[in-house]
């Protein structure tokens, strides 16, 4: 791994969805570098393509054009299971709607990404407990998601995102469903995570939220708007 190349390098990324006869160009040539340890906000109105861009960044989706170099490696030709493994080790995800599994406890939700590796269960459990107490849920380990408030659920999701100690945290509108007080807590946690040396990429439509980030990338109609 060379340290002089950017962690993430996007060159002319395009994404077109086909809906029947209709082609919808969501991304129309996005070029972007993100360095290690950055805190970047991807901001744009609804329909600007920011979520699609985040999915491509997080290897959840493949671009229809352009190049994505992750740690200097072009990910375009990699098979699905290799992408899964990269997601598993390199990225942590937080979503607007949390996506917790409703029928297992907070602790088991946090352990989930660790289950797809050979890491011993004992270590996973220990790490999950640590992470849950870091986000202030030490006394809620065995609660089901339905027994937790929205803010608590998002904190469980954050602990889950950090389980495999990823370099990059991708947060897609993490405060979109939360009230302002709870949102502030979540943003503080994001800053803490950034302060630990991780790269944080925050997707938001909200200018105030985006201000927490060190750099703001403004998306408009599938293109990065230069200022």
């Amino acid at each position: 791994m060379r340290t002089d190349t950017p962690l993430i390098r996007l060159h002319n990324i395009e994404k077109t969805f086909t809906l029947g006869e209709l082609d919808i160009e969501v991304l129309r040539g996005v070029s972007l570098n993100i360095e290690r340890g950055e805190f970047v906000a991807l901001r744009g109105a609804s329909g600007s393509g920011k979520s699609t861009l985040m999915h491509i960044l997080g290897l959840l989706d493949r671009p229809t054009g352009g190049h994505y170099l992750l740690q200097g490696e072009d990910v375009a030709g990699l098979p699905d299971d290799r992408l899964s493994a990269l997601r598993n080790r390199l990225f942590g995800f937080i979503f607007q709607t949390f996506y917790l599994i409703p029928y297992v406890s907070a602790l088991e939700n946090v352990i989930l990404p660790g289950l797809y590796s050979a890491t011993p269960a004992r270590h996973l459990r220990q790490r999950a407990e640590e992470l849950l107490s870091q986000v202030g849920l030490a006394d809620r380990l065995h609660f089901r998601p339905g027994q937790l408030s929205g803010g608590q659920q998002q904190r469980v999701a954050m602990a889950r995102a950090l389980l495999n100690d990823p370099q990059v945290l991708l947060a897609d509108e993490p405060t979109g469903q939360l009230d302002s007080a709870t949102s502030a807590e979540i943003m503080t946690l994001l800053e803490t995570i950034h302060a630990q040396g991780r790269t944080v990429i925050l997707v938001t439509h909200d200018a105030a939220t985006a201000e927490c980030a060190g750099r703001e990338v403004l998306l408009h109609d599938g293109l990065v708007r230069n200022r």
């Binding site: 959840l60 989706d61 899964s84 995800f93 797809y116 050979a118």
Partner: protein, 417 residues
Amino acid sequence: MTVWSGIAEILTISWRCAAMARRALWAAKTRSLFVVIGVALGIASLTIIVAAIDGAERKANEMVQIFGPDAVLVLGGNIESRAVGQRTLTLSYDDAATLRRSLPGVYMVVPMRARSSVQVRYGGNVTQVPLVVGTSAGYARAWDWPLSEGRDLSEEDLRRGAKVGLIGDTVARELFGTRSPVGRTVLMDRFPLQIVGRLSYRGVTGGGGAVDDRIIIPITTLTQRFNMDRKYFRALRIKFHNPEYMAEHVANLRSLLRHLHGLRPEEPDDFSILTADEILKFLSTFKGGLILFLGVTALVAMVVGGFVLANLFYLSVDERRSEIGLKMALGAPRWAILVQILLEAVSLTLLGSVLGMGVGMAMGQLLARLGLLKILFSWKVFGFALFASLAIGLAFGLKPARRAASMAPIEALKGNT
């Protein structure tokens, strides 16, 4: 990564997928229960079928063993045309004597007549004996039915029309308890009968009837004492040397009897010959019908169970799209998703098969108690049921599982197909 650590990782992940499968199934209890019941019904019917066929086969062999592979039974009258009222008393003592003398390969000819429901008394004990059989000498030998004590009927008994008899085990017990019946005299109908031998316990035969509640006396005694036709009798048991030539023996027997009865070539037989082979043939026809009928039933039940499974799993995969998408987003490889869904399907069908075996055995017990079938637990059935349910789980679970594993992570996460 070495090969071994790769394999270890795959095993670890698969094991964890199994745990996740268990949690997911438990979370959808009702649906899981439906699948289990669906499979269980199929396996239950399968269990009964295989056990029934096994039981029928065992019975058939038992019957043939009792009948004796070297024996034939000649019945008066033609079984096929008995319905039209043909007379059944066509076998005469002269026939028996001629057969004994002239039929090649024969070593025993035993005529038989019977009287049903005869009252027998000993001291204060009275019992109704369902069957008093009249026979010639050597009954025990002719029927391969060893005596537990005493002696067989002799030629001398027969000639004299002696008032002696062999006693079945059940009758002996009823009249004498634990005492030996041999040498004692009972009162049969209105004449005294000395018991000279006791037949060993044989139990229940294939037909379901008991054979131990009979008394055997010389056929001469029977006809004299009960005032029966002195010329004809109902059945004749013949035993041959060299049972491997049974077909030839039977052909000889048939042509000789036809000759003795003066039948013209166009006339049908006025007697019927039963051999062990014929009994087996009849039983295997019966068994074939059983297999076909029950087999179709079981197949339908299994296929229905399989479709229930496939449908419910499609539904389940559909409902859990975002959960599956999430797991993929968090780095689950596609094969792990496949493994989890398949494990869910297979564990439900395996559970169903064990339950189905239980239900099948219970129903079998019921049938056995009703005297219809005797069903025994067999490892063969158990193994087959497990294998069948495994196959159903894999076959019908594979499509939903592949569908789950082939979803695009982000579309699944958003809940789209």
